[in-house]
Amino acid sequence: MLSVVDEALTDERQDGTRPGNEPSMIPGTSILPGGAPSIARLDGVTKYYGKVTALDQIHLDIRAGEVVGLLGPNGAGKTTAIHLLLGLLRPTTGMTSTLGHEPWSMAARTRTGAMLQIAKVPDTLTVREHVELTASYYPASPPVQETLAHAGLTGLETRLFGRLSGGQKQRLMFALAICGGPELLFLDEPTVGLDVEARRELWQCIRRMADAGRTVLLTTHHLEEADALASRIVVIDHGRVVAEGTPEQIKRHAVGSHIRCTTRIEEATAAGWPGVSSVERSGATLRLVADQAEPVVRRLLDLDAELADLEVKSAGLEEALVSLTHGNDNTSEEVIA
């Protein structure tokens, strides 16, 4: 099934290699062909929880300076991947490394920061106390005030965690992740449960870190988020990588455009056109899905001058994911079994 992905990525990867397959002599510092140094990796990692396979022979490389969006539905293995790279879990088989060290080593942990999917930190400590305490764990932490500014928490120093709004709480979690001045930042579903406003504020904070050259691995099933933040997206499902590329590549190659109009053109006619992947009619309305909207729209207008209510929508990552993971159904059943 990975052939689908390969096909989608051919223009980027002429040599056809899959990322993360190279055996590295020095863990975590291997130079990938045509890329920056890898600073964290899962190399052929499988993780079982009892009989359940969370990750299945996965390869993942994080390169210095990039923002990787790890994308997938719930239960895909995103959190497991982050916990492995943070050393909170040990792989069942395979190798993990973070910043050239074992992820659970002090050496790795002093240079990483993490925002995990947790309910809360203690309500009864103030913002400053939380950040100050966490920053003390790190040998090279920036001034607390700077961290607070980065996380948009200036002015809230003396407020108890329990008194913060939802967005402020998440930003404090973010502050805890960055307060040690990490080179590598893990953000596990950073904006889950936030409203649009709060989400955008946190995005800005994340972007600032990315702009400052920090490497970020973020998981989300909120795909707009990956689109907005990531320089590279890795789509995983059922413990396997199912697609990988820039947000544009994923969008463009995975599904294409949705076209809707009121027309007399026959379904069968449209289905024969190049690039059209599906045609569907309900009453007077015809729905098409095409790789590229423009040639199809041109043909539609040419054939039916009376065509009305034309609507063209570029597929979001939601659709991309549905499509990609749908195509993986067979595989996933095997994996789960």
């Binding site: 863990p27 190399d43 052929g44 929880y49 969370a54 959190t79 497991t80 916990h83 943070l86 050393g87 909170l88 879990l89 040990r90 792989p91 088989t93 395979g94 190798m95 993990t96 060290h101 074992e102 659970w104 080593s105 002090m106 050496a107 942990r109 002093t110 990483t112 993490a114 995990l116 999917q117 947790i118 309910a119 809360k120 930190v121 203690p122 009864t124 400590l125 106390e129 100050e132 305490l133 966490t134 003390s136 764990y137 790190y138 040998p139 108890l160 805890l176 040690g180």
Partner: protein, 278 residues
């Protein structure tokens, strides 16, 4: 996977998150200070947790000592002096069980302990800080009890005995911190308070912390010397001048053994907890 990668990923003690060999000691000292302050502030600002653990021993003492125990004597000491030692033990055990047991279980449930594990915080520093807070909490309870007994209950002891009683109970409460650690990692956040209370209250009774050992029913009399709380209380009783039913050596040996068993069980539960988080 081949043997090489297996061994690379196998748990390795040299890189486990404990004190590093070339640990920057000053930084660890600062972490310890801030960690202790944070634990203290949490306690100070969380009356819902602190008040019951603080109030129960004082309330029991006021009721069974000040209200009903006046003028009574148990062997060579007054009831009020006697109960000072036993409710002191009761309070100190509670402070440690709740600080370690319930405290850890609840914060594990919230995920904070997981987040801390992802950070370069040596877990030993965290547990030491909790231990200090348990001791401070114990001392506060003892100050409250001593004030009641000394200023309202007519209990008079030589200064060294007051200090010795406070010191013994505060330090002697630490084995129960280890016991709490075990339950903190064994129990879920919701079941922890119930489980710990189910152990704490009956064991306190059976160890003669509520009713003097002398008047315990026969079955409990036979059972008590096998319970750690009994030994904590007995040596406290010795300090206030009451008759004791265990020697210092017996009690120290027993409590040490109890500490070791609790720590081993606690560490096992801690390890298990690390492995089960996904």
């Amino acid at each position: 996977m081949n043997a090489a990668t297996e061994s690379l990923n196998a748990p390795d003690s040299s890189s486990a998150p404990v004190f590093h060999r070339r640990a920057p000691r000053r930084r660890y000292l600062r972490i310890f200070g801030l960690e202790t302050r944070a634990e203290l502030m949490k306690m100070v600002r969380m009356p819902a947790f602190v008040v019951p653990a603080f109030a129960f021993p004082l309330m029991f003492y006021a009721l069974f000592g000040l209200a009903f125990g006046r003028g009574q004597e148990i062997g060579p000491v007054t009831m009020l002096g006697y109960l000072l030692a036993t409710y002191g033990a009761f309070g100190v055990i509670g402070a440690n069980l709740f600080s370690f047991g319930v405290g850890i279980a609840v914060e594990r449930g919230q995920g904070w302990m997981l987040l801390k594990r992802a950070m370069p915080l040596p877990p030993l520093i965290h547990f030491l800080a909790r231990m200090v807070v348990g001791m401070v909490f114990s001392l506060l309870i003892l100050v409250g009890l001593f004030a009641l007994g000394g200023f309202f209950g007519g209990v008079a002891l030589p200064l060294p005995a007051w200090v010795k009683l406070a010191a013994w109970l505060t330090v002697g409460g630490l084995p129960f911190a280890a016991f709490g650690l075990f339950f903190g990692y064994l129990c879920g956040p919701n079941s922890a308070p119930a489980v710990i209370n189910l152990l704490y209250l009956p064991l306190s009774f059976a160890s003669g912390l509520w009713m003097p050992y002398e008047v315990l029913p026969g079955f409990f009399k036979a059972l008590a010397p096998w319970l750690p709380a009994f030994h904590l209380a007995q040596q406290g009783l010795g300090i206030v001048g009451a008759e004791t039913h265990a020697s210092w050596t017996q009690s120290i040996v027993y409590l040490s053994a109890f500490t070791v068993v609790s720590l081993v069980a606690g560490i096992a539960a801690y390890r298990r907890d690390q492995e089960s988080w996904g």
